[in-house]
Each structure stands twice: as C-alpha cells, then as structure tokens.
Amino acid sequence: MKHSIKVNINGQLYLEEVETSMTLLQFIRDKVGLTGTKSGCENGECGACTVIMNGNPVRSCIILAVEADGAEIITVEGLGEKDKLHPLQQSFIETGAAQCGFCTPGMLMAGKALLDKKKNPSNEDITEALGGHLCRCTGYKSISKAVEVALSKNNRN
C-alpha cells in the first residue's frame, strides 16, 4: 500500500511516496540519500540508527516511514554546519570517541537530544542517554567523556 508523506529532515521538506513496509531508516538512507544514519541491528537494540524526531531521540529502524508523516527529523547531517563542527562532533574528535565510527552518528544524536533537553545533565543523565547504544571499539568511556566536554563548552559559551 502506497502513502504520500511529508517529512522535514534537517530543515528541508521531503514529499515522497512510500510503502507501509519502508522504515524511517530506509527512507532517510535510500529515498533521501542521507547515509550518515547507520543501519545496525535493524531491531531497535543497538542505537546506530538513532535520529531526533520531534525533539526526542528515537530508533529509526523500528519506525515506519509512514508513521513519520508530518514529523521534524534531525539526522547527523543536520548537526554541524558546512565549515563548523557541532561542539559534540568536535569533542568526539578530541577525546577519541570515534574509532570505527559506526555507532558514532547514533551516539551523537543521543548526545544532542540530551544537551537540547537538559542544561546541566548529570553523569547519570549521560549514562542513561547513551545506555542503549552499543559500541564495540571504545569501551564507552571516551564517548561519555566527549559528551561531558561538549557540555562544559556549551556552558562556557
């Protein structure tokens, strides 16, 4: 069954026809062509496909594209500007939080959602925000450190 949907991704409006079977993740990657969002477990468990939907971090692999009709979505491509990295991206580089990089877009979006929601997140908040994300390289420490660093920069600005 085909549906016309209207989705705002990173400030740009996309009008597309999708089938019920298409996930939001497939829509973002295959229809729109934004491949920063990664496809990991495709089961909602690993966090690689995390995007921000109407202000909340969500797993795009277990949301149907048709469910996202009318939604505002931010993907990792919407984080920085062309010549200026987002503070989170910068701090991920500085702390060595990206190794193979596959989990990084999901981690960044979880981090962004946290910084958007809470001015002064605690360490527990950071752990909770990143808690559903798998990373097989870093051991997680450098990632939560990166979010802390970005937070302290945010508060200085």
Partner: protein, 289 residues
C-alpha cells in the same frame, strides 16, 4: 522483511473502532513491539491501525477517581510526570523499559497490550489496583487491569475493542512502593524476574496492608494474593515474611528454558527482592535497583 500491509491512521476513535473490527487488524501505537514482531514474522497483520492521532487516548491528568493515563502516552512521559511520582513502583518499573529512545516511543498502553509476562510497567500498575478503560462501538467498559492479562501475548481485548487508558486510584499518603528486577546485563534487557511491593501503614497491627506483584515468573504479571493475605494487618517479623514468601512461591512456576534465568534462580530472586523491597519501604538500607 516488513510486509507491505494496509495501513490506516484514523483521526477519530469512532473510525478507529470500525477498523479494529476488521479481520486481521492490529493496533499500532509506538511500534517498538509491533514493528519488531512484524519484521520477525511473529505478527502478520492484514491491516495496521495507527492510533497515534486519537486524542481520546492521550493525556495524564487528575480525575475524581485518581489519575488518568491515556494508553498512547509514551512511557518516558509517564515516568517524568509529577502526577505519577508518588507511584514509585510504576515510575521505577516503567523507567527500566528498554532504553531512553525506546521509552520516548513505546507507549504505556502498548506495554500492557503486548501482554508480556515480564512487562516492566505492569507490576507497578497492579499493586496500585489500576483499572483499564476499554472502548468499543458499544461504549466503554472498565475492568481491573489484572483481569485483562490472560497469558503470554494475550490480553482480554475482543475484536473491535481498543484500550483507551488506565486509571490509577489515588495514592494514599501512608503508602510507599518499590520495584526491583533482575536482568542479565544492566541496560537494554528484558526482566528475568521482577517484583513490585506496595505497603500502607507498614507493620502497624490491624492497619498494615501489603501488595505484591510478580513479573516473569508466571504466564502473566500477577498479584501474589495468598502471600498478601498472610501479611495483612500484621506486624512484620522475619518469620512472617518467610512464611508469606513460602506461600507465594507455591503459586510461582517459572517456565523452564527461559533465555534469561532458570526457574531456581527466579524463585530465589522472588524471595530476595520481596525482602529487599520491604526493607527499603520500612526505611532500611536503599539498594540499587
């Protein structure tokens, strides 16, 4: 692969109820179970009825009977709502579901209707005697939430019925509750065993009332009423608690072959977690959940 099924997103409850009468219709809320189950071909709907536009299924507010929670409310909204804060076992249980991204999407109604024996929101709801409000084209019916739970994956919703929301009776000032669970890993795991304990006037003779609900040790989340009856109105001694737990374990028969925990471990943990919760409620040491 997710099948390319028919999908409708009705704007009114009336239309939604019509769709839900159709053969092969499945209600879709947050989709954190439905979409996963469709992909794994455990669920093969002919028609997906997306409930997300139904205003009647939304909101968390005070009503004369207590607190109304619309079935469509995302779990995280329930966890964060100040009106729900007094219902500790519910906040702790719902707050342990999946991870943050899942809780922003998964709904409280979905956690109920998925009918999992280990659903983390249910023990906390059951110890507060939550009611389910169910809509059909005949009108509304109210029933105890516990009676809605029939078995693994099975809830007592008839064709054409939709869970509209739940009512939490007012939390008494003299009451406290606690939720504990055991998982294999800390994050993103389903409960291997869970316990909610509610107490009012704990240990005061003639007034003490204790309610206990167990998850992942029976075909549904359920209250441990035989143990509750033994504890009612009595001063809590170690002996009495042991006797009550013995009584409770008679009803507990965890299935063999669970991926998460073996029956012996589950039974042992039922005992440990009930004692922990009672001790915490009595003002003893606080344990990490």
């Amino acid at each position: 692969m997710i099948p390319n099924v028919e999908y409708r997103r009705p704007k009114t409850l009336e239309v939604a109820l019509e769709y839900m009468k159709k053969e092969g219709s499945v209600a879709l809320a947050g989709g954190t179970d439905v979409v996963v189950n469709m992909r794994e071909e455990k669920l093969l709907p002919q028609l997906l009825v997306d409930l997300k536009d139904l205003e009647e299924l939304k909101g968390i507010r005070e009503i004369p009977e207590g607190i109304w929670i619309g079935a469509l409310e995302p779990v995280q909204k329930v966890v964060e709502n100040p009106l729900i804060a007094p219902y500790t076992a519910l906040v702790e249980g719902a707050g342990s579901i999946g991870c943050l991204e899942i809780r922003y999407r998964a709904t409280i109604g979905g956690n109920i209707c998925n009918g999992s024996p280990s659903a983390d929101s249910l023990p906390g709801l059951l110890v507060y005697d939550a009611l389910a409000v169910i809509a059909s084209d005949m009108g509304e019916r109210k029933t105890s939430l516990e009676s809605l739970l029939l078995g693994p994956g099975k809830v007592d919703l008839k064709k054409g019925e939709i869970l509209k929301g739940i009512i939490l009776p007012k939390a008494k000032d003299c009451s406290k509750s606690k939720y504990y669970r055991r998982t294999r890993v800390k994050g993103m795991d389903l409960s291997g065993v869970s316990v909610a304990v509610y107490a009012e006037n704990i240990g005061i003779e003639g007034e003490s009332q204790i309610r206990i609900a167990l998850g992942a040790v029976m075909p549904t989340v359920a209250r441990a009423r035989r143990g509750e009856a033994l504890l009612a109105g009595k001063k809590l001694t170690d002996q009495l608690i042991d006797d009550a737990i013995d009584e409770i374990l008679k009803d507990v028969n965890p299935r063999k072959g669970s991926l998460r925990a073996n029956p012996e471990y589950k039974k042992k943990m039922v005992s440990v977690l009930i004692k922990k919760a009672l001790s915490e409620i009595k003002g003893g040491v606080s344990y990490e959940a």
